[in-house]
């Protein structure tokens, strides 16, 4: 960080530094990513027993076995295998799922499961972040009042309650008793949708249950971080200055306090981003929401290593690149950070 003297050198130098920093971080990210790819390769080959066994699974006829062995070069040396693995990977070939009629792993993951998880998790996380931030700011501003205590208690209780239990209660009460949310699936089974809009209406209706459950379980974390962060910002001089300037309280809260308090949130959101992809296994199970969480669950049960390997790789990649993006985003959110 440069502190410029009064003559005020213009920031040409800093932007070069910024570009170099981003480039550096990018190279780092790529290196980490390669390490993960390699780790992914190693993990599935150092598992106890014959690696071919792990990769091939049981009950696969000899011919198909031979085909897969050749395809992955499992009869070759580890170095050669690694090379083949990389080549296959960059051609988008992550192997074949054992348990889904031998379809390609990328198809198992991306055909519809990724979209289901992404939409559900995106919607609940967005709602949780927005509600968490807004209520967190208000609660911090109204510290120790009924609003503060009330929302803290409510969100903490929601946070602490087991997700499957809330889910079951929802199914029991809203699904079965009141009949206003569906019991399972992403669409009405057996219903032929008249058009695209009708499909989305149906889809979103089916999403209400898991959406509410996930939002409830996510809010607590975001809310608490935001509240603490705002309370911390409130002790800063510029908030006192803003009050002295006679600004409206809303302006102070959302114009001054929130912007600064958002900085820790960026990291938290970045850390939570992989959830968008990995999904919430339990919630997806309770609501029969066919997403990646459920796929992971079934793949573990059916020892579907190629799919697990694919999910692991995808998740790790997202995590690594999300962190890279968060770092870059930080540059823009906090003008003090310059490299």
């Amino acid at each position: 960080m440069h502190i410029l003297n009064e003559s005020g050198a213009v920031s040409a130098r800093t932007s070069v530094g910024t570009r170099r920093y981003i480039a550096q971080r990018f190279v780092q990210t790529i290196i980490v990513w390669f390490m993960i790819i390699t780790l992914n390769f190693i993990i599935f080959r150092v598992m106890p027993g014959d690696p071919r066994q792990a990769l091939l699974g049981e009950g696969i006829p000899p011919e198909l076995r031979q085909a897969i062995v050749e395809r992955f070069g499992l009869d070759k040396s580890l170095i050669e295998q690694y090379f083949i693995y990389l080549v296959n990977l960059f051609q988008g070939d992550m192997g074949y799922s054992f348990s889904h009629f031998g379809e390609p792993v990328w198809k198992t993951i991306f055909d519809f499961r990724f979209a289901n998880t992404f939409i559900l998790m995106g919607a609940s996380m967005a709602a949780a972040i927005i509600i968490g931030i807004v209520v967190g700011v208000i609660a911090a501003a109204r510290r120790d009042t009924l609003i503060d205590t009330g929302s803290t208690v409510t969100f903490l209780v929601a946070y602490a309650m087991p997700v499957f239990w809330i889910g079951l209660l929802m199914l029991m009460f809203f699904g079965f008793q009141l009949g206003i949310i569906p019991l399972a699936g992403t669409i009405t089974r057996g219903y032929v949708h008249v058009n695209f809009l009708d499909y989305w209406r149906d889809y979103l209706w089916h999403m209400t249950g898991p959406w509410i459950v996930l939002t409830l379980s996510f809010i607590g974390g975001f809310y608490l971080i935001m509240r603490d962060s705002v309370l911390d910002v409130f002790t800063q001089d510029y908030i006192l200055a803003a009050r002295a300037k006679g600004l409206k309280e809303r302006t102070i809260l959302f114009g001054h306090a929130m912007r600064n308090a958002m900085l820790p949130m960026v990291s938290v959101v970045a850390v939570n981003l992989p959830y968008l992809i990995s999904g919430a296994m339990i919630t997806e199970f309770v609501f029969s929401w066919s997403g990646l969480g459920l796929l992971t669950y079934h793949s573990v049960l059916s020892v579907d290593y190629p799919v697990l390997q694919g999910i692991f790789l995808f998740l790790a990649s997202i995590t690594v690149f999300a962190n890279f993006l968060a770092d870059v985003l930080y540059l823009y959110l906090d003008p003090r950070i310059r490299y």
Partner: protein, 325 residues
């Protein structure tokens, strides 16, 4: 009519049931174009006095008695919304640590524009033009208003903060240790600027500092505070040359003088009293070399000893101190 008139102000902080008597019966007034320097050790109530005037006290602080008259408004009884309306219109503050007083993630110009628009209800462009003028006035390039606080040096920030304090044409500017964080050269430039602007805009200035040399050079009148009390008020010359209160005398003696012969600095024995439970009688008596029995029992009156020269001491005018040359 005085711009600011404070009458018997008492501001207490409450810690549970106990109260800290941070400001306990303070009276003074400031006319337009006049600077009152408020000096004293840390924790004597200078800043609390300033924040009382802006009604910026923390949640546990309360004005329990007294009046504060800002222009023609009595502000102690105003609602939060009414006082919010007055802030920056009637009085503004120059903060001590300019670096912290600007929001680090917002552009400096935007932070000044925001208050102008709030108070004057003008368009963004007009407000920007005003900021440009103000920047010009305080010696900053107008185009630098697009910078972030961290891109300014300390002196520039202090200039920006001064520009901000003038943004809504106030009657009173409270300068809370405005130059303490700066080096001496920059200090002088800033102080010159302040003086110049005060002349131009006919401002009343409440200048809070613990640095008596700054007070001496910049203030028309001086108030000395000790443990929540204003112990002496008078013209700078009177207070520095013919001080009436033993504390003032000690305080001045505790400061080095750059010019004149070298001499041993005095120091004041003891520590300022705990304001949770201040001593009876005169609050200074445990540290006062001239203390008599009456000082321990009876609180001295705040009285005018000479024309415009007030002191709060039983023996004001009767004691003669070793005056510095």
């Amino acid at each position: 009519m005085a711009v600011l008139e404070v009458e018997n102000l008492k501001t207490y902080y409450y810690l549970g049931k106990e109260s800290v008597k941070a400001v306990d019966g303070v009276s003074f007034k400031i006319e337009a174009k006049e600077t009152l320097g408020l000096a004293g050790e840390s924790g004597c109530g200078k800043t609390t006095t300033a924040y009382s005037i802006m009604r910026l006290l923390p949640e546990n602080g309360r004005i329990v008695q007294g009046t504060i008259r800002l222009g023609d408004e009595e502000i102690t009884a105003l609602s939060e919304e009414e006082i919010r309306y007055l802030r920056w219109r009637k009085a503004s503050i120059i903060f001590q640590y300019a670096m912290n007083a600007f929001n680090p993630v917002l552009r400096i110009g935007a932070q000044i524009v925001e208050v102008i628009r709030e108070k004057e209800g003008v368009s963004k462009e007009e407000a920007r033009a005003t900021v440009s003028d103000l920047f010009d006035e305080v010696g900053l390039e107008p185009k630098r208003q697009r910078d972030y606080p961290h891109e300014f040096s300390g002196g520039m920030l202090q200039r920006a903060i001064i520009a901000q304090s003038l943004a809504c044409d106030p009657m009173l500017v409270i300068a809370d240790e405005p130059v303490t964080a700066l080096d001496v050269i920059v200090q002088n430039k800033i102080l010159d600027l302040l003086r110049k602007l005060q002349e131009k805009y006919e401002l009343a200035v409440l200048f809070i500092t613990h640095d008596l040399s700054v007070v001496a050079e910049n203030c028309h009148n001086v108030g000395i505070m000790y443990a929540g009390n204003l112990v002496e008020v008078g013209s700078a010359k009177a207070v520095f040359k013919h001080n009436l209160h033993p504390y003032t005398s000690k305080l001045i003696g505790a400061f080095p003088s750059v010019i004149g012969e070298k001499k041993r600095l005095q120091f004041i024995p003891g520590t300022p009293p705990n304001l949770l439970n201040p001593p009876a009688g005169c609050r200074f008596h445990p540290r006062c070399p001239y203390a008599q029995d009456i000082c321990k029992e009876k609180e001295p009156m705040y009285r005018e000893i000479k024309q415009g020269h007030y002191a709060k001491c039983h023996f004001a005018g009767e004691l003669s101190f070793e005056v510095i040359e």
